[in-house]
């Protein structure tokens, strides 16, 4: 069970409309061109072709490494 609230601070949501406007501007500056053919299936096919092994969890481990270094 969740414990009683320690605070009554309001939950704050990101204004996605504003976020999208800012990110779209940034991506345009960066020259990012979305891939209209992108699908999850195609992504995974590409990874298989590039020799990525699912059991290595290489991407999620990268995130955990960014947080904790080599101390996992």
């Amino acid at each position: 069970m969740l414990t009683e609230p320690k605070t009554e601070l309001p939950v704050r949501f990101v204004d996605k409309e504003e976020l999208n406007r800012l990110m779209d501007e940034m991506e345009q500056r960066m020259g990012f061109v979305p891939d209209p053919e992108a699908t999850i299936e195609k992504l995974r096919e590409m990874l298989r072709a590039e020799g990525i092994r699912p059991e290595d969890n290489a991407f999620s481990r990268e995130i955990i490494r960014m947080r904790y270094g080599d101390e996992e």
């Binding site: 969740l2 601070l9 990012f32 195609k42 290595d56 947080r67």
Partner: protein, 166 residues
């Protein structure tokens, strides 16, 4: 149906191929019946993980382009997802949490944000469930009373049942 609170360590499994990617797919398939919540920080961490892998030569630029496209369309541009703000109060609460649970400041502020969200929900609201593969974060969240799921630790076939009961 629960509200799923996503950590980048689980989110990245959608745009890649890892243990638990099929579980993450099953959770995505439940949208919009389940509410999906992330943080802008988690979005940035997911983005950074892909970018660093490309810079290191582990993935191609073509893959990066496709993965970022899907991250953009499935999360940022999708009305099925809401993003929470990690504010100064969450960072401060996080300092208390990092002392208790041996977290780093990022995980602690993220946990503080999600706990505030979960604790603010009225009685009878859908259960808030943290989805993460970061074991420290999962342990700390569990200790704080948050329901958790590690996509690496369950089978995709087992997902529909808890989704209905959480």
């Amino acid at each position: 149906m629960p509200t799923l609170l996503w950590d980048a360590s689980a989110l990245i499994k959608r745009n890649t191929l890892e243990a638990g990617s099929d579980v993450v797919d099953a959770l995505f398939a439940a949208l919009p019946q389940v509410t999906a919540v992330a943080t802008l920080w988690g979005y940035a961490e997911t983005y950074a993980s892909l970018w660093r892998k490309r810079n290191r030569g582990d993935i191609s630029t073509a893959f990066l382009q496709s993965a970022l496209t899907l991250l953009r369309s499935e999360l940022r541009l999708s009305t099925d997802w809401v993003f929470l703000t990690i504010d100064d109060a969450a960072v401060l609460t996080g300092i208390d949490l990092l002392r208790q649970h041996n977290l780093n400041a990022t995980d602690a502020a993220l946990l503080a944000t999600y706990l505030r969200y979960a604790r603010s929900q009225p009685a009878g609201s859908p259960t808030s469930v943290l989805v993460a593969a970061d074991q420290r974060l999962l342990r700390a969240a569990g200790s704080e009373g948050l329901t958790t799921v590690d996509p690496e630790a369950v089978a995709a076939a087992d997902i529909p049942a808890p989704l209905a009961t959480w």
